[in-house]
Amino acid sequence: MDLGPERPICKRCVLPHSPPDIVLDAEGVCSICRQEEARQSRSDDPPLLETDFVRLLQKHRGKGTHDCLVMCSGGKDSTAALYYMKRRYRMNPLAFMFDHGFEQQDAIDNVRRAADALGVDLLFYRTDAVRGLFRKMVVSGSRAVLCHPCSIWYMSLTFEMAARFDIPLIIAGWTKGQSARPGVMTRCACNVDAPEYRSMGEATKAFLKTLRDDPQYRDFPSSMEEAVARARKRHHATVLSPHWFLDQAAEDYVEVIRREVGWRPVAESYPAGSTNCSLNFLSVWNSLRHFGYTHYHVEMAKMVRQGLMTREEALRALEVNFGDETLARVLERLEPPAK
């Protein structure tokens, strides 16, 4: 499997030398770590406290048939989010899962089991509507990150579901490694303006521009901001993740959801220990090939800097754990011409 040239990795985090976005200095420390170091020495951001989260929940508690819509992927973080919303915060959530044709059955089973165990309603949405978009992206040879347009699509879909059921609160399972600052929440977790996302973001934007000529996808939002802005014209919903507010590491809640809702890890996913869809393998391969890192590297690098993961844990999780066969299988599902 061609993953591009070997790149030196930052001594502090897990990001590789990938100019112009990420540059390692003479000490082997990346420009992102250096920037973070300077920022922290000025003043730390005020922490997000669980009491802040509860205060936000209280605004919406008991409003409507369901007071929050929980985006479930079947992974540990979103399953824990669903668990917390029901048990810890005593909300009345509607669990929402989509399958764009590439979700793993184990993940779907995780969501069903959790919904059953917690006694929450589950909305399962199966569609082939974006398969053509993914195929187009692969065929075009774009450097864009497959997960970016997918995120834009599923956030649009989630807002649509929240509007349909008049739910004021959308709960995601995003970790502290994903953007967790109030200003960034509105952009739905991924800060595409961050330097480490610059080239990836530009590639995605360039690809999305090409959709304007495609009759099937010409209305596809050109960015997450546009998707959220459009959605908010119809329905205002706040997007939050409990993980941003809790002082707990993943292993603390994995144990709980294993015990309480029968959560199981899926057999094959990247990064190790995650529960991502099979299309993700293609996305990861493409990003590694072009940039030498993925958005998971960015997330985990941030968690390493925050002390939520050790560098060694992150490096282990980020080791490539799939091969050509897996990629071939996914491409097959995108239909033959994609090869």
Partner: protein, 567 residues
């Protein structure tokens, strides 16, 4: 029923969560926001307490505040009016805080917590009294509270029985031992609310030649009551606390950081002697009026371990319980206790036998904190940890010791401590130069095996909170020079296997190696920084300061040569 107690907006903000089944969690805001003596709304402390208790703010039924803000505001207004126009600057400076926070606590709680349920206000000295009596081992006891000033009260005593506390007598502002002590502390060039402990230590180096004159200033009476001659003070103006007359009588104030001349040492000694005299008289008076054998004490002045030691030795009280967080932080706990027990009549379920009421952190987080700074993460079994740490202390190493739940109150008591060998006469200087960077006259406390206390101290009394200065037996003094104050006393903490098996085992190992059953125990922090709270704080303090060893939960890290020790 679960009650959250809060103290805030003056100094030592804190939060406490108290509930059924013995639930009691408490933490000071300074440990979390890393601002020494933080006066901020204790949002982080409350959050940490709730998460440590495994509940959310939704599970809290009532919030109790540690004072009645309108009464305090009344005093503040009266003060400013009396001192107008000199008080104008202070009035302008403090008014926004009053209008924005202190007088509108329910709004602050709504804004910060979305809180819509009852908020209860407990008078400050009742909160102090409850913080001591309601968690003491006593079913009935006299209670004495002494601090700067609450709403109007500066000193109070009463009787605690079961779940009730009756305040019998009080002394009101501006007559205040606490304010007197703080005023002279600032005259001596130390910071108000932070330098009082330094003055207490400094007292040992001077002669109490000014005691008679201070007695007159304080208007001290035989029953312990007092009426300060206000012409010596300027409490009401909000700036310098002493008047020109004080300067005429005792000379100009010391410039902070300048040499501590004889005049200042004598003033410190005289002030400390006055305080001890007043506290002894007060305690004797309370005993006389109550006839009770047990005494509970709280309030900032109750942190004066030299005075506490004398109360223990020289008054008829046979047992004295001083709350480890005797200052305003502890009043958060007291306010919650008043609401649970005195107001709602719930039975007392907690006896505070240790001060480990704060949050604790999982081993996984400790491992990450070490790994993030490039430090090794090899786990060591408890017995080996005790043996190796004891061995390193005996060889002269300075050890950062971070274990379990954080202490509540100003003292590190073996969970967030720096440990060292008391036998080494140079250890005090080593600690001051390498780690603590504090004034050379300040003594270090020690943790001693409870079962050995009688052989080493003149009074064989349990002292789990390091709040009594007790004389070391003369024949033992030469063996623990670095744990001794100049007057031959030591601020000691007695450690039992029940209260802290790991720490007890460590000292026992040290005893086995050296024949000395105590180690120097000082707080795990640099001078003027709050005590470490999280594993990350501990690792940062370990790397920043010249500590030799870090025992972080089950991990033992020994500093190598500088190039390998840096992150």
């Amino acid at each position: 029923m679960t009650v959250a107690g809060l103290s805030a907006f003056y100094h030592d903000s804190a939060a406490c969560v108290a509930g059924n089944g013995g639930l009691l969690v408490a933490a000071q805001e300074e440990r979390l926001d890393r601002v020494k003596g933080s006066a901020a709304f204790p949002g982080r402390a409350l959050d940490a307490c709730l998460q440590a208790a495994g509940i959310t703010i939704m599970d809290v039924d009532e919030i109790a505040f540690y004072e009645k803000p309108f009464l305090k505001f009344e005093r503040m207004l009266a003060d400013h009016l009396r001192a107008f126009p000199f008080s104008y600057a202070s009035f302008r400076r403090t008014m926004p805080a009053w209008l924005g926070e202190r007088l509108v606590l329910p709004l602050v709680l709504r804004r910060n917590l979305g809180w819509e349920r009852p908020v209860r206000f407990v008078t400050h000295h009742l909160a102090h009294a409850a913080s001591a009596f309601l968690v003491s081992p006593f079913e009935e006891a006299a209670v004495l509270t002494v601090d700067g000033v609450g709403e109007w009260t500066t000193t109070a005593w009463g009787i605690g029985r079961g779940t009730s506390i009756e305040i019998r007598e009080e002394i009101r502002y501006p007559d205040s031992l606490g304010l007197l002590y703080t005023a002279v502390t600032t005259w001596l060039g130390f910071e108000a609310n932070r330098g009082e402990g330094k003055v207490m230590a400094l007292g040992g180096f001077g002669r109490p030649v000014l005691l008679d004159r201070l007695r007159q200033v304080a208007g001290l009476r035989p029953d312990g009551s007092f009426r300060l001659d206000q012409s010596f003070f300027r409490f009401e103006r909000g700036g310098v606390m002493w008047s020109p007359r004080f300067e005429r009588e005792f000379g100009p104030p010391r410039v902070p950081g300048s040499d501590l001349g004889e005049r200042y040492l004598d003033m410190a000694a005289s002030l400390q002697a006055l305080l001890e005299e007043a506290m002894l008289a007060l305690a004797r008076h309370v005993h006389e009026r109550t006839g009770l054998r047990r005494l509970c004490m709280a309030g900032g002045v109750a942190l004066n371990c030299a005075a506490n030691g004398r109360i223990l030795e020289e008054t008829p009280f046979q047992e004295v319980f001083v709350q480890p967080a005797a200052g305003d932080a502890g009043a958060a706990l007291g306010a919650a206790a008043v609401i649970r027990h005195c107001v709602h009549g719930l039975p007392r379920e907690v006896v505070m036998r240790d001060a480990f009421l704060g949050p604790e952190y999982p081993v996984s987080r400790m491992r990450r904190a070490l790994a993030a700074r490039g430090l090794p993460t090899t786990e060591v079994p408890p017995e080996e940890m005790q043996r190796r740490v004891a061995d390193r202390i005996a060889s002269g190493a300075v050890v950062g010791w971070f274990q379990g739940r954080m202490e509540f109150g100003p003292r590190a008591l073996g969970h967030r401590s720096i440990l060292a060998d008391p036998r080494n006469p140079a250890m005090k200087d080593i600690l001051n130069a390498r780690v603590k960077h504090r004034e050379p006259f300040r003594p270090y406390g020690a943790s001693v095996l409870a079962e050995e206390t009688g052989a080493w101290f003149e009074r064989d009394t349990e002292s789990p909170f390091m709040l009594f200065a007790v004389r070391v037996r003369p024949e033992q003094r030469s063996r623990v020079p670095s744990a001794l104050h100049v007057d031959g006393t030591c601020r000691h903490q007695t450690v039992t296997p029940e209260s802290d098996p790991l720490y007890h085992g460590l000292i026992r190992q040290f005893h086995g190696l050296t024949g000395v059953p105590m180690v120097i125990n000082t707080s795990f922090n640099d001078n003027n920084e709050p005590i470490v709270c999280t594993p990350e704080d501990a690792v940062a303090c370990f790397l920043k300061n010249d500590l030799d060893v870090l025992a972080l939960g089950p991990f033992l890290v020994e500093k190598g040569p500088p190039e390998t020790a840096s992150p």
